[in-house]
């Protein structure tokens, strides 16, 4: 009997609201079917500390907003065969990149979030990764192999894409996706 090796899949959560991961989980009973064919090697819902090597498919949710994410993304690209940008934040930058419209956006964002709108002990955070001057969509930092826009993309669309790739086909998402 030939046992086919499971496809190694990772999901990554950068600067996003986790809505795309929720949509991923919304595949519901189809996840059981999927779990027979894939192995989840890295994910915010799996307790793995370091991004493993030789990952077949990585889904990335969220835009790149800080230094840690920037370096992590470079590492992910090196260790992944097929990189999929999942959702508007990963594809276009979405809400995360809106701060790019402001001069000196880091200062403005931090001031708004940690000083102006805080009533008790307002102070700048120190033990968190430094924000980048500008926020980026995934394809502004590394090469992306496939895009699934949507805020979030529907569970059916995610399921369709992953199933097609597992079958060795390139999915065609024309008229199936919607920005926003």
């Amino acid at each position: 009997m030939i046992v086919l090796a499971k496809v190694k899949v990772a999901t990554v959560w950068l600067s996003g609201c986790s809505g795309c991961h929720m949509s991923f989980l919304d595949q519901d009973e189809k996840l059981i079917e999927l779990s027979k064919r894939i192995e989840l090697v890295y994910s915010p819902i799996a307790d793995v500390k370091e991004f493993p090597e030789n990952v077949d498919i990585t889904f990335i949710e969220g835009a790149v907003a800080n230094e840690e994410q920037f370096h992590l993304l470079k590492l992910i690209r090196e260790r992944t065969k097929l990189l999929i940008a999942l959702g508007d934040c990963a594809v276009t930058g979405n809400v995360v990149t809106l701060r790019n419209c402001f001069q000196d956006s880091v200062k403005e964002v931090l001031e708004k979030a940690y000083i102006e709108t805080v009533t008790y002990n307002p102070q700048y955070p120190v033990q968190v990764p430094k924000l980048l001057e500008k926020a980026y969509s995934i394809n502004e930092v590394v090469k992306v192999d496939f895009y699934i826009p949507g805020c979030p993309p529907s569970a059916d669309l995610i399921n369709y894409v992953i199933t097609e790739f597992l079958e060795g086909r390139v999915p065609s998402i024309e008229e199936k996706f919607k920005y926003g």
Binding site: T92, T97, N100, F177, K178
Partner: protein, 234 residues
């Protein structure tokens, strides 16, 4: 005297049209779909978005079907790989030019640019973005003018001029710096000519002009210019 009729071929199909018809009208009348964005039935064609370009045999240039009149024995292709490539590029550039963040846009779900992106499979943009921020004009009691979403299709200008007949709206500057202005570039609330009819918000294909406190799906009436011009002809 019988009306003169011209014969032309669109996508291999032989069709007849009036000599005053544009390629787009002849195509629509014969059930041939050509994608459009700035075009709106009832308004003078503008030919600005270039989405409706077609190939005309014997002409090395691509022609905008909304502004090009038909002529006898014209041979037209509306859907070649080359045209699709250009249309995709146009949509990509429109998405990249200003800040079209669909998820927080008032037009989400009833936006023609969003629809076209999906239809043509423009699932990302490769060009770097500008991130220029324009101030909103929220001074009018009912309407908002958001330049950040504007694709400069000029539908609002044309409907204001041709249908309402007041020409409150116009355009200033050129190229990517172009902006819709009210009267002589004044805050909307200070406009003397504006009748607050709201036709501009009814025809805006994106979320650039909208009625305060209402989703675009409730206020959008794309068929309005056609409806009004047809009633005037009677």
């Amino acid at each position: 005297m019988s009306e003169r009729i011209v014969k032309l071929i669109i996508d291999g199909k032989e069709i007849f049209a009036k000599p005053t018809d544009t390629i787009l009208k002849a195509a629509i009348d014969n059930g041939i779909q050509i994608p459009t964005l700035c075009y709106l039935e009832g308004l003078t064609p503008h030919g600005g978005c270039r989405l409706c370009v077609v190939e005309v045999k014997g002409n090395p240039k691509l022609m905008t079907s909304c502004t090009t009149p038909v002529s006898n024995n014209m041979e037209i292709i509306t859907n070649s790989p080359k045209l699709i490539k250009y249309r995709k590029q146009i949509i990509e550039l429109l998405l990249a030019e200003r800040i079209h963040t669909c998820s927080v846009c008032i037009a989400n779900g009833s936006c023609e640019l969003q629809e076209l992106a999906s239809k043509f499979g423009v699932d990302h943009t490769n060009v770097s973005r500008n991130w220029e921020r324009f101030e909103l004009d929220m001074s009018h009691e009912r309407f908002v003018l958001d330049h950040n979403r504007c694709i400069l299709c000029t539908r609002c200008i044309r409907v204001c001029d041709e249908i309402e007949g007041v020409h409150t709206l116009d355009i200033k500057r050129r190229g990517k710096d172009s902006m819709i202005i009210v009267d002589l570039d004044e805050p909307w609330s200070a406009s003397y000519s504006c009748t607050s009819c709201g036709k501009c918000s009814a025809v805006c294909p994106v979320g650039a002009i909208y009625v305060k406190g209402k989703p675009l799906s409730e206020t959008k009436r794309k068929e309005l210019p056609k409806f009004i011009t047809e009633r005037r002809r009677r």
